[in-house]
């Protein structure tokens, strides 16, 4: 019986097991059929776990909201009263569901310190994060994809080695250090770009972009390095595949073969990694926001952390998880389009 259970490898080999960040689980779900249904089921399950985790962190946090709010001289009775009024004396799940239910309706609670609704603070900070990470992602792709193509199509050549050297250096550099160097070069020395602050796009596209270029570039360097290395490796692998010979024998031009056929197949791992990079990017954005004094969610979280302001911390985490999950859905759709089949069937 033991022996029967252990031969798990025959089910699926690990390489084909998942496709994207949320994967086609493909296994559970006799009830849910179809790729889209399965992805939605996964996403919802992941969302449930993530939000439970975020809530549990706050729930088991030793910081007592009532005591924090009332100050040090509060009587235990007053604390108990306030706890009851805030609904904090209810059970774990009761509190969780009212929290998540409110959050879905846009109500993230009120900051214990400033009294400002958390939703409002997030609404001001979120555009900053989306701007800086969005611009960073675009920059990373604009640098990483061409670099990966150049390196992958010139395997072993000078450019390949040069790009490899640059990218393996780039992944060792801390974001904030890259940011500092950028500030030194472009703001302190050359005075071309502003070193700090954020301007909404409504104030002018260039004003908006000019404040984002340095922080976004600092964020983009690492991602670009990862993208170019990965794309280079999968291009090299894909170029060795028979379908390239097949396309050559059919008389398609090398250019068409590269861009219409090889790249499509080689991009899948890159797209997968971008999905994994998004949470990292959001995290790194916190650091750049501190460096470039951008009033984003990271600054909000930092201040909240210093003040043990639970609703704000929870709200920020929740929004970040939501962004990641939405991006993952997009990534899954993109993967489905790039590689309609899992590799399962024809191997």
């Amino acid at each position: 019986m033991e022996a029967g259970r252990i031969s798990v490898g025959t089910r699926t080999s690990p390489s084909y097991e998942r496709r994207g960040p949320l994967g086609s689980l493909g296994k559970l779900a006799p009830a849910v059929s179809g790729r889209i249904g399965q992805i939605l089921l996964s996403t919802l399950t992941v969302a449930l776990f993530s939000t439970l985790l975020i809530f549990a962190l706050a729930y088991f946090s030793p910081s007592n909201p009532a005591a924090t709010k009332l100050g040090e001289n509060a009587t235990p009775a007053a604390i108990a009263h306030l706890n009851h009024a805030m609904g904090l004396d209810r059970g774990f799940f009761a509190q969780y569901f009212s929290w998540i239910g409110n959050a879905i309706h846009g109500d993230f609670g009120v900051s214990w310190f400033t009294g400002v609704p958390v939703g409002k603070s997030i609404a001001t900070g979120l555009p900053v994060d989306l701007s800086v990470t969005g611009v960073a992602l675009v920059m990373a792709l604009l640098m990483g994809i061409p670099a990966g193509i150049v390196a992958g199509t010139r395997r072993g050549g000078f450019l390949d080695r040069a790009i490899n050297a640059v990218s393996s250096t780039a992944i060792t550099l801390p974001v904030f250090w890259i940011g500092m160097v950028l500030v030194i070069v472009f703001a302190v020395k050359a005075k071309w770009l502003p070193a700090t602050g954020y301007v909404p796009p409504s104030a002018g596209l260039w004003a908006w972009l000019s404040h984002l270029l340095l922080p976004a570039f600092a964020l983009a360097v690492g991602v670009a390095a990862v993208v170019s290395r990965l794309l280079r490796n999968s291009l090299v692998a894909a170029l060795d595949e028979n379908f390239v010979v097949g396309a050559t024998v059919r008389g398609l031009s090398p250019r068409r073969i590269l861009y219409r056929h090889v790249l499509r197949n080689a991009l899948a791992p890159t797209v997968t990694i971008i999905g994994l990079e998004i949470p990292q990017l959001l995290g790194a954005a916190v650091v750049t926001e501190a460096l470039f004094a951008l009033p984003g969610l990271g600054q909000l979280a930092l201040t909240a952390a210093q003040e043990h302001d639970l609703p704000v911390i929870q709200g920020v985490l929740l929004v970040m998880v939501a962004i990641v999950l939405i991006c993952n859905l997009g990534i899954d759709a993109l993967l489905g389009w790039l590689r309609p089949a899992t590799r399962r069937t024809h191997s």
Binding site: A3, I6, V8, G9, S13, P14, E17, P21, L25, K27, L28, S42, T45, V46, L48, F49, S50, L53, S61, P62, N164, T169, T172, L173, P174, V175, F176, W177, M180, V183, I184, V188, G222, V223, L230, N233, S234, A238, P269, I273, L276, P279, Q280, L281, L282, G283, A284, V286, V287, A290, G298, A301, A305, Q306, E307, H308, L317, M320, V324, L325
Partner: protein, 302 residues
């Protein structure tokens, strides 16, 4: 012996091993090897360039940059080692065991691991300091927990791969217990790949912890840490930017060394992560798991 030689075959791995050796010595000795007192202020002597007294110059309080760098090694490296160890402990063994789960529980376990992957490490660490204690402990815990999914997924993938191999099946036919098979075969086979994951994760952890020190979370001033030094330097970029170079360089070189040793381990131990055998560079990384080990390495200075 042969394996060791293969791991350190390339010159870059040798250099990297030497770098890590030096870092290790500095970690063990703490501030002992520092030429000056890292906390001693000498305000009139601030922002000095390199000189015989202060090899890397002084900071805004006139403290010796080299001494602070050396003294800051311990807290950065120890913290990073602790996170990697934590990630390994709570990731690797459950990862192996997860390969033997039934379908439904497997689904939920995998989704739980995925849910950890949706949390940005830096943000969770910031949150943890806000929700719990404001100190290194919370930071190490948060980063360690979020490193665990890597170890989990790698261990799981390796187990799924090995469990289907014939000698493992044969062992079961002869009535070997599951535990014995894991200990005897799978564990020893998965270790090289896990070692690679450990090395890349260490580089990643150094970047993450430095970022948090930079944010003022974790190590408290005036105690020196690499990230914390940069945080104070950044205030004075307009007066003197050269001081900001050194801590960044220390971080970059250490992270590079971790990645280079990971490459050496991968080639020398025949680990699977991110490539197969000799040419780690050439191999395609199709699956998420090898992506996690090979390419996420310090991907973000997160």
């Amino acid at each position: 012996m042969n394996t060791v030689r293969r791991v350190f075959a390339s010159p870059s791995t040798k250099v990297a091993a030497f770098v890590l050796f030096v870092v290790l010595i500095l970690t063990i000795t703490g501030g002992l090897l520092a030429p000056n007192d890292p906390l001693a202020q000498n305000v009139p002597n601030h922002f000095q360039g390199p000189s015989s007294g202060n090899l890397l110059g002084t900071d805004y309080l006139g403290r010796d940059t080299l001494s602070r760098l050396i003294a800051g090694t311990r807290v950065t490296v120890l913290g990073s080692l602790a996170t990697v160890l934590l990630g390994f402990l709570i990731g690797a063994v459950p990862g192996i065991l997860s390969a033997f789960l039934g379908r439904t529980s497997e689904f939920f376990v995998m989704r739980f691991v995925d849910s950890l992957l949706t949390l940005p490490i830096i943000v969770l660490a910031v949150a943890a300091t806000g929700l719990f204690s404001n100190g290194t402990g919370a930071v190490v815990l948060a980063v360690g927990v979020l490193l665990a999914p890597r170890f989990f997924r790698i261990a799981r993938a390796e187990t799924l791969g090995f469990a289907s191999e014939q000698y493992v099946e044969a062992a079961q036919l002869f009535g070997a217990s599951r535990f014995w098979v894991i200990r005897r075969h799978i564990w020893s086979k998965a270790l090289p790949t896990l070692a690679v994951t450990g090395a890349t994760s260490l580089g990643y952890a150094i970047l993450a912890l430095s970022s948090l020190d930079f944010l003022g979370i974790g190590v408290k001033a005036p105690a020196p840490s690499w990230g914390g030094m940069l945080a104070s330097d950044v205030q004075y970029l307009y007066q003197d930017w050269s001081a900001a170079i050194w801590p960044g360089l220390a971080i970059a070189i250490t992270v590079w060394a971790c990645n280079a040793v990971a490459d050496g381990l991968r080639d020398g131990l025949g680990a699977h992560a991110g490539g197969h055998g000799e040419t780690g560079q050439e191999a395609p990384a199709h699956d998420l798991d090898s992506l996690l080990t090979s390419e996420l390495a310090g991907a973000q200075g997160a």
